[in-house]
């Protein structure tokens, strides 16, 4: 890797208006941003839009970007904030246009037999819904810490919160997930396919 291929080198070139350098940064960090955005919003046009917007914001801030934080945590932070905004808009839209019954997110219900989860896709879908239901405080921590394997420190930097808060939120999120998914875990429906 030459000096100009490092993040700092590419950023310096992009600041001078070199679009090819910026393209290399986009390609390099697309997986990081995609993992954050898709983890929060799921796949779809919304996620693609938020991904694009993340890089546009970064491009606008190129001159003021100081390499005190790594580019990875910087981009994750922008992506996470935009994803949370998108979720808020979705909720507002759902409240406005969908009837109350339809707006309720399907919650795993203890009365639903575990057999219903035998299908892998259905099971994954239910777990994703359970994570999505964690709310704007706990969901980002689960996405960054468990799905993206960011360290506690990186998660704290990306979310702009202290490390202790990351740990406590993660603990509470796990408790919530345990309660929501416990019936299926006890029945063994969740582990049997692994």
């Amino acid at each position: 890797m030459t000096d100009t291929d490092t993040d700092a080198g590419l950023i310096a070139r992009a600041r001078r208006g070199d679009d090819e350098a910026f393209r290399l940064l986009v390609v390099r960090y697309e997986p990081v941003v995609a993992a954050t955005v898709i983890g929060m919003l799921g796949r779809g046009d919304d996620a693609d839009d938020v991904g694009q917007e993340t890089f546009i914001r970064f491009h606008r801030a190129l001159d003021s970007f100081r390499e005190e934080s790594t580019l990875k945590t910087y981009l994750v932070r922008i992506a996470m904030n935009l994803s949370l905004n998108a979720l808020k808009s979705r909720r507002r839209g759902a409240l406005r246009f969908i009837s109350r019954d339809q707006a309720e997110t399907p919650v795993p219900d203890a009365a639903v037999p575990a057999v219903a989860l035998d299908d892998g896709d259905e099971r994954r879908s239910m777990v994703r819904r359970a994570v999505a239901m964690l709310g704007p405080r706990h969901q980002p921590v689960v996405v960054l810490r468990l799905l993206q394997d960011l360290t506690t420190k990186e998660t704290a930097q990306a979310l702009g919160i202290p490390e202790g808060t990351v740990l406590s939120r993660l603990s509470r999120a796990m408790q919530e997930l345990k309660v929501t998914l416990a019936p299926y875990m006890r029945s063994g429906a969740i582990t049997e396919d692994r």
Binding site: D19, F22, R23, V26, V27, E30, P31, A34, A35, I38, G39, R43, A47, D48, G51, Q52, F55, I56, H59, R60, R123, R124, S125, V127, R128, V131, V142, V143, L146, L147, M174, L177, K178, L181, A182, M185, R186, I190, T191, R194
Partner: protein, 113 residues
């Protein structure tokens, strides 16, 4: 299942549920981003030009009115004492030694007197 096993099972479950391989957006994502960057750049430069244009249009009538008023005032004040109408319009005083000394424009004028 004890608590530790449950935690571990839960973590695996959550990771599996979101396992999307190497996450990527749709094909041509970088191209779409660069197209938007170009559009953003164009919009910014256009908005600067538009804003300057709008300001100029807003200020121009006031500037013209002030200039006309100043010319009229200068012509009226000159009252035929200027060398030409143009000089009168600009408010230029005829240059004489007396005027120069009187205005203190000449350095050391006091010491000459």
């Amino acid at each position: 299942m004890n608590d530790q096993e449950m935690d571990s099972a839960l973590q695996t479950l959550v990771s599996e549920a979101h396992d999307i391989g190497t996450p990527r957006f749709g094909e041509g994502f970088a191209d779409r981003v660069l197209a938007r960057v170009a559009a953003d750049r164009l919009a910014t430069s256009q908005s600067v030009a538009t804003s300057l244009n709008r300001q100029a249009v807003r200020v121009l009538p006031a500037l013209l009115a002030a200039s006309i008023a100043l010319i009229a005032w200068n012509l009226r004040s000159a009252g035929g004492s200027s060398d030409s109408t143009f000089a009168a319009a600009l408010g230029l005083q005829p240059v004489t030694i007396a005027a120069a000394v009187g205005s203190g424009a000449m350095l050391g004028a006091e010491s000459l007197q």
